[in-house]
């Protein structure tokens, strides 16, 4: 199952490292990353593949939200179908 990780917050050192580190810990494979920085606001969108069946998307989403809060970032993990259904027929 593919999921989208979106990160928004003030740009600082180590955001990408934190998120990708957490993915590695959870055995989640990163497929695609894109990031932009506009006026110091960091926005990253990551597409990942979740294969670990013991770890559900909602558990990972909750964990990442906590990690984000600790670092002053808004991190969300969402099932990719929500975007697919909205923009593809």
């Amino acid at each position: 199952m593919k999921a989208v990780i979106s990160v928004v917050g003030e740009d600082k050192v180590g955001i990408l490292a934190t998120v990708s580190g957490e993915c590695a810990k959870a055995k989640i494979n990163i497929l695609d990353v894109s990031q932009t920085i506009v006026n110091g606001v960091f926005t990253m969108t990551m597409i990942v593949e979740m294969t670990n069946e013991d770890y559900t998307l909602s558990q990972f989403a909750e964990h990442m939200e906590k990690i984000g809060k600790q670092r002053g970032l808004v991190i969300r993990v969402m099932h990719q179908d929500i975007f697919k259904s909205m923009y593809e027929i």
Partner: protein, 451 residues
Amino acid sequence: MQTDDIQRTIRMIDEECLDIRTITMGISLLDCIDTDIHASCRKIEEKICTKAKDLVSVGEEISHTYGIPVVNKRISVTPISMLVAASGGDPVEYAVTLEKCARRLGVNFIGGYSALVQKGYAAGDRELIDSIPEALARTQHVCASVNVGSTKAGINMDAVRQMGEIVVESALKTKDDNCMGPAKLVVFCNAVEDNPFMAGAFHGTGEADCVINVGVSGPGVVRAVLAKADKNLPMDTIADLIKRTAFKITRMGQLVGSVASQKLGVPFGIVDLSLAPTPAVGDSVAHILEEMGLETCGAYGTTACLAMLNDAVKKGGVMATSNVGGLSGAFIPVSEDAGMIRAAEEGVLTMEKLEAMTAVCSVGLDMIIIPGSTKPEIISGIIADEAAIGMVNSKTTAVRVIPAIGKDVGDTLDFGGLLGGGPVMPVNQTKNDVMIHRGGRIPAPIQALKN
């Protein structure tokens, strides 16, 4: 997948209040009917608590997995008057049973304390309607509705007269609880059988045993799109923007509905395309109309804007889902819409304007707080006029007015939560007793020679 699209969706959820307003499970209670009311109630509780045992947890799971809030989980059931017909006894017992189920399952509302009397009263109907004030006073989650007219049957004026009294009695019985009773009571003309929205949801007899219906929402998203649009754009271009937005919102509903139906093992019924406002900032239908170029909702031009909005929402939504149903359109509940509340407070939005708006919106006069001294006959008159609009135009109309006991124009009433609150609105109190007390039926209108 485009990064822009992903960020746009997240913005809709975070900033523009996009959400799934409700996942409503419709459950037929026809197989629970028993001649003994206690046995009937026992079977109901067993069936509802079995069918819907995972409804709340699945709703929460979808919310977490897809990152979209699922605000309400609700249940609608077969009109209870049909069960009363066979079992007899005190109908309130059914309301108490439904309340027990709602609490056990953790759902937000349970609808179906209803009777369909558009052409006349059958066994159980009068008893159920008589018991509505007591049932609503003794429960928190149970919603009641009565269908008093239809395009095919005409209007049952005896029921119209009775409902005026029931609304007032219901307010009196709950006067210490902000007159909450009538906020959970809808009087319909042309009620639909698969509506997922409260307070008017019930599970029609033509429906399958158990289905999942979904109601989406998103006035904030439509408003945000219109706010960004050039003020010189012609109306047809605005309609197009609304259509495109409605399409996206509805796709979300379709996804959530199909996932919920799969997880619960229950067939997917319909997506209701309604734009349902909440009192939250930025979640208002009135503000959409104002974005189209009206200073305040209620100004001349409001009905035209609402007609276009209602139609564009349907056109956009229809292609986005395999099964459209319910009420599908734009709701205009006054106390639940920040823009409507302000317009009513300013005196720009009046009962008369709202009545005109109901001729083109998805339902009717909804969540309107009226003076507590309003006579039952006046409320019956409001119901009769609304029902006539629905009957002649082959559309659903409804009345949900709340007489604020002990309050008058200039006061406010606050329900809290999604039901909101607002000013007591002035009502034309000219006598209509003779007409209302005539009773009988208004015959069904002719369906040809349409002018």
